[in-house]
Symmetry: C3
Subunit: 143 residues, 3 copies
């Protein structure tokens, strides 16, 4: 987590484009890099409707991140959206694609990587995971 | 938003079918039409299980809409489900397909179209977006 | 509901593998079997990023289940994750694939199968649905 699902027109992006987009999106985050999942999906025009119009000039992004337990943190939200927009701008706006993005929030508790429930945010164990950039068993007292 | 993901058997729908389905679904809503996203996904039988049975006679719909801050508005819910069911009936029940639909709720705050955070519901700016059927910068006092 | 979306490398699983995986996952649940939906999606390496690295050795699972109205039921959560992990282990860990799984929670009220709003959990009507393993109209007093 987070997980980005990016639905885009057929042929819109090369493998190099997708690599660069994935890097730019991953760079938004301060969490361990391997937490960030990005899935690209080619969506044919006849299967892609916005406002009941078949589109081949649109990128629709749906992502999940963890629910934040701070209600109405509008400053955080505005900042995050700005960063997300900047990360993808070269691949949407700058290429003439319209886009829409929305975020679902899911509970951190129902989450598992390689059979392990990840450590608490900002814990010692999370710092180690970030440093090593992979999941590994950890001492519960550190996580 | 909303965003409909419709997983259906291979070859179940022609481009014309999908266009008509998209129109009928979009017609349920009173929001600006271009808000409504619908993605069709062909799902081969060997990759589509309901009750651990591979199916080619099933349509599985998962959609997101905004969380409503009215708790237990059961009348609204019943009415909405009835409209959704009527919209898709000619393409599921009437063709012998079974279907299941469920809805996830996401926060309106984490939403962006073409780099813009959409105006508040029923605001002046939203009325303009609806009329013009597209996103455009707006005076914050109107949105 | 629940609905599992399993994104996996191209060619990772045969039809038989997917059938067995679907059976093992469905067996976790005590609800009517036909409630459990599982969709497999082949995801090419160049469209599958974890930590900004293109991967063909990773299985990413995102599922929805109903929100539980018991807050912080950490024992239930731990038990459920253990069962989910055991169900998929032969197809991930034991084959050298890494995996990540997370769960979104959705409201039971916004749910429909074949035009019917399913009966309440553990109601008489649900017991009948479970026994017959299909949706059918029911007496509202029993559901």
């Amino acid at each position: 987590m987070p997980l980005w699902n990016i639905y885009h027109p057929v042929g819109a992006y090369t493998a190099e484009d997708k690599q660069e987009m994935a890097t730019r999106i991953t760079d938004i985050y301060t969490i361990p890099r391997f937490y960030v999942g990005i899935l690209f999906h080619e969506q044919p025009k006849e299967s892609f409707y916005m406002g009941a119009v078949a589109r081949d000039d649109f990128v629709r992004i749906r992502l999940d991140h963890f629910a934040r337990h701070i209600s109405n943190d509008s400053e955080w939200t505005a900042g995050w959206l700005k960063k997300a927009d900047a990360a993808i701008a070269p691949f949407v706006r700058d290429r003439g694609y319209h886009y829409e993005l929305h975020v679902g929030e899911t509970p951190r508790e129902l989450w598992m990587i390689d059979s392990i429930r990840p450590p608490r945010p900002n814990s010692e164990a999370e710092k180690e995971w970030k440093l090593e950039n992979r999941a590994a068993p950890f001492d519960p007292e550190k996580g």
